[in-house]
Assembly symmetry: C2
Amino acid sequence: MDSNLPLQHTNTYTLTAAGCNAQSELAPAQLVQHVIETATDHADRLGLGYDRLARDGSLWVLSRVAMEMTRYPRLGERYSLTTWVENYNRHFAERNFEIRLDSTAEVLGYVRTIWVGIDMHTRRPANLAKVAGLFDTTLDRPCPMTKQGKIRVSTTPQACHSYTFRVSDIDCNRHVNSARYVELVLNQLDMSSYDTFYLHRFEIEYRHEAHYGDHVEVCSTFMESDDSLVTAIMHRDKEVCVARAFMQPRHTSIATQAILTLATS
Amino acid sequence: MDSNLPLQHTNTYTLTAAGCNAQSELAPAQLVQHVIETATDHADRLGLGYDRLARDGSLWVLSRVAMEMTRYPRLGERYSLTTWVENYNRHFAERNFEIRLDSTAEVLGYVRTIWVGIDMHTRRPANLAKVAGLFDTTLDRPCPMTKQGKIRVSTTPQACHSYTFRVSDIDCNRHVNSARYVELVLNQLDMSSYDTFYLHRFEIEYRHEAHYGDHVEVCSTFMESDDSLVTAIMHRDKEVCVARAFMQPRHTSIATQAILTLATS
């Protein structure tokens, strides 16, 4: 093992007016873009990126993202994502992220991701054990957020919106952009919900790839059992992705009278 | 006049896999995001940004964008936007941009923008002549692309799509994000059009601000007079914005048999 391998990698960003959302914060979907970018940069530096896997006819596919944030970076703030790999097995990698404010080093939150190696032709799981050196790049650093759980979708959704994927939704692999699904899911709540609450914890599981022109239904249900909003993006009878959002009041004083509301059609 | 004023400003970017479109290029809407970001950075460095205008109760609003590109930055390429102000008058600024490839300094294209100063309360044009030093920050540097012309909208559109603005479409001013309109307009063509053609010239004029929850109709017509695709985003009887796209074949050999096709519903 090369002892000079960079077992952690950090990307730094500044939140510009052009990049922030209606609450003048980093949008969660944009955080997912940063996660993908930072993971790609780190894997490339380790020599284990898309180029290396392509030599074996494989590629990395983002399978799950879970994030837990105390607060989001605000307009003008500089912040960083530091990533490391917690664990590999034959089929997937567990890669974590810590988000810090640059000025004070305050930790704003964490992200856990699962990346699956798949065969680029069969689209079936590839055997990552063939990739020399892969298992030497993990780092024994704790990630204090709970791992993603199983998301159970309701069969009686409370709100459904249809959407057809257009040119601007598609990435360079000719699939729908991973961050775009996050936007569609979070658009299920209305603006007043985000003014009063923030997205404290979010989990998404990508199950089937969607393509240009696919018509989907985005269906959501409030779960009383754990106070989460569960959403499935359905393409015919297939779950494209499923997600779970846990919202928290922005100020404790407003907690009692405020409620979350679903977007109307 | 302070002779040390930075009359030009350059931002540099790298096109990552997470940031590129289905053709593995910089998406035109993302270029508009860069334009807003680079303009904001330059105005701030000149001491003429949002903060300065806010002291007079005014703000900058992007009114028009015209871009003309020979080609777009590709996946992995580093590129820069250099901006300067060509002209000011009492009501608006003409700000230009040159896009270059970092490695070879090849010019990829130009952008012309018009920024209007408006009163933040009345939303009417402000008098920029009150802003001391503003008129000393122009640069006598040519921008070789033709200025934006008047866009005439057809009364008999060939394709209309409805859209409702959601949380992810709204920016920190609580209006629809300027780049999101560009996506909606360019989504009027289908994927095969972008695989065969590229957006050579694009003009957009922002006429009325749209807000969260607005239902709009995006309506397009091919104009035989100048081979352009003209699109209007309509909110009831008001034109939110109008745009004109000029597409060119990616390779001259495919020009004769290829056609542009509108996206189906």
